[in-house]
């Protein structure tokens, strides 16, 4: 099986059509402009030919993510908790805000803090959906779900995304 697959970014594609000429299987020539995954061999000829850099060769497998030092993860978790509290505070303050400017500013703060926190937790071990920390987390949620937790969604994720490193390592 091919280890990668061509994906066209429609925002970048300028319809120069070189990929139509070079693809050995016709996978690039489709009515909806999405490259046909059934036909794609992963040869990469289209990506090399595209003058707009619009085609990515997306890997089907990923290497294990970088190991993180415990001291770093511990510190990151402290900061993540602080950010989560800020996000929640800003969200509630935005809801209460009467003035339009204040409402917009606090909404921006809510989103901003979420993005910074996503980046933080990504570096603290949750970079890859295929990583062991993400898997251990889903597994523990399936085994001991909080009330109302969508167990089926977590199960489906575990089934669809195989873990790419030995499991059992806590985040």
């Amino acid at each position: 099986m091919a280890k990668r697959m061509a994906v066209r970014n429609l925002r970048l594609c300028t319809k120069d059509c070189l990929c139509l000429y070079v693809c050995p299987t016709g996978a690039t020539d489709t009515e909806n402009s999405i490259i046909d995954t059934e036909k794609c061999l992963g040869c990469g000829v289209c990506a090399d030919a595209c003058p707009s850099g619009a085609i990515s060769m997306v890997p089907l497998e990923y290497p294990p993510q970088q190991k993180k030092a415990e001291a770093v993860v511990a510190r990151a978790n402290v900061l993540a908790r602080s950010k989560a509290l800020q996000e929640q505070t800003a969200r509630q303050l935005a809801r209460q805000a009467r003035e339009d400017g204040l409402y917009r500013l606090l909404t921006a703060v809510t989103k901003s803090v979420r993005l910074v926190n996503e980046d933080l937790l990504r570096e603290a071990g949750y970079m890859l959906p295929q990583g062991a920390p993400a898997h251990a987390l889903l597994q523990s949620l399936v085994e001991a779900p909080p009330a109302g937790f969508p167990v089926e969604a977590a199960r489906e994720l575990l089934a669809r995304i195989p873990c790419n490193e030995p499991e059992g390592k806590e985040p």
Binding site: V58, Y62, K68, A69, A71, V72, A74, R75, A76, N77, V78, A80, R81, S82, K83, A84, L85, Q86, E87, Q88, T89, Q92, L93, D100, G101, L102, Y103, R104, L105, A108, V109, K111, S112, V113, R114, L115, V116, N117, E118, D119, L120, L121, R122, E123, Y126, M127, L128, P129, A134, L137, L141, G148, F149, P150, A153, A154, L157, R160, I161, E170
Partner: protein, 213 residues
């Protein structure tokens, strides 16, 4: 001839090019890129901040159990990871989990802007130096990167909230608030910056924050 650098967005004020010495600029002058005050600038070459002060030996709480708020962030981050890999179904599932935890996040009792600003400042004064110290010690450049980005974004939040406190609604009347959807940088102005001063993505990656409908 000196070059002065904005500590928030990195804008460079080059005295040679501008013709006016930095010191001669009026106090009301602000960074043309991010509107930070004059005081946020420092001369190029001067160690902006002593890099990575020895991490304060403050004991780290053991936070093995992630709170609902953090779990929501972990899941929305993994949803983005799936999007990058063109896994749409998986992204939607992680978003479902993120929404579940967002709905279950305990409300903060008596939220107030001062408390929010205190927390933001504590991150800047204690938590970022501690994390970046640990990252330097572990030669973890990925974590150093998020410290650099996160600290700038957080400084900007501090500066905007401070301005709102002094100027009130006038500050934001007839202008827009923008958020970089990649790094979270917040910008106030009629149009978003051409590139994000923190993470360098183009203007179209900025989201305009709409008022209440």
């Amino acid at each position: 001839m000196e070059r002065w650098i904005c500590g928030i967005c990195g804008y460079v004020y080059d005295e040679g090019k501008e013709g006016t010495p930095f010191a001669a600029l009026p106090d009301s002058w602000v960074c043309p890129l991010c509107s930070a005050p004059k005081s946020a600038f420092s001369p190029a070459g001067a160690p902006a901040q002593p890099d990575a002060p020895a991490a304060p030996a403050k004991p780290v709480e053991d936070l093995k159990e992630l709170s609902a708020g953090e779990l929501s962030v972990v899941c929305s981050n993994l949803a983005r990871g799936c999007e990058k890999q063109y896994k749409d179904r998986e992204a939607a599932l992680f978003r479902e989990l993120a929404d579940f935890f967002a709905a279950g996040t305990a409300p903060v009792s008596d939220p107030d802007p001062e408390g929010l600003m205190d927390r933001i400042r504590r991150d800047l004064e204690e938590e970022y130096p501690a994390l970046s110290g640990a990252a330097v010690a572990a030669s973890d450049r990925g974590t150093q990167r998020i410290c650099v980005w996160g600290e700038k974004v957080t400084r900007m939040l501090d500066s905007l909230l401070t301005r709102y406190r002094t100027e009130g609604e006038d500050f934001l009347q007839n202008t827009q608030v923008w958020v970089c959807t990649v790094c979270g940088f917040v910008y106030v102005g009629d149009a978003p910056p051409e590139i994000c001063p923190v993470c360098k993505v183009p203007a179209w990656k900025f989201e305009k924050i709409e008022g209440r409908v």
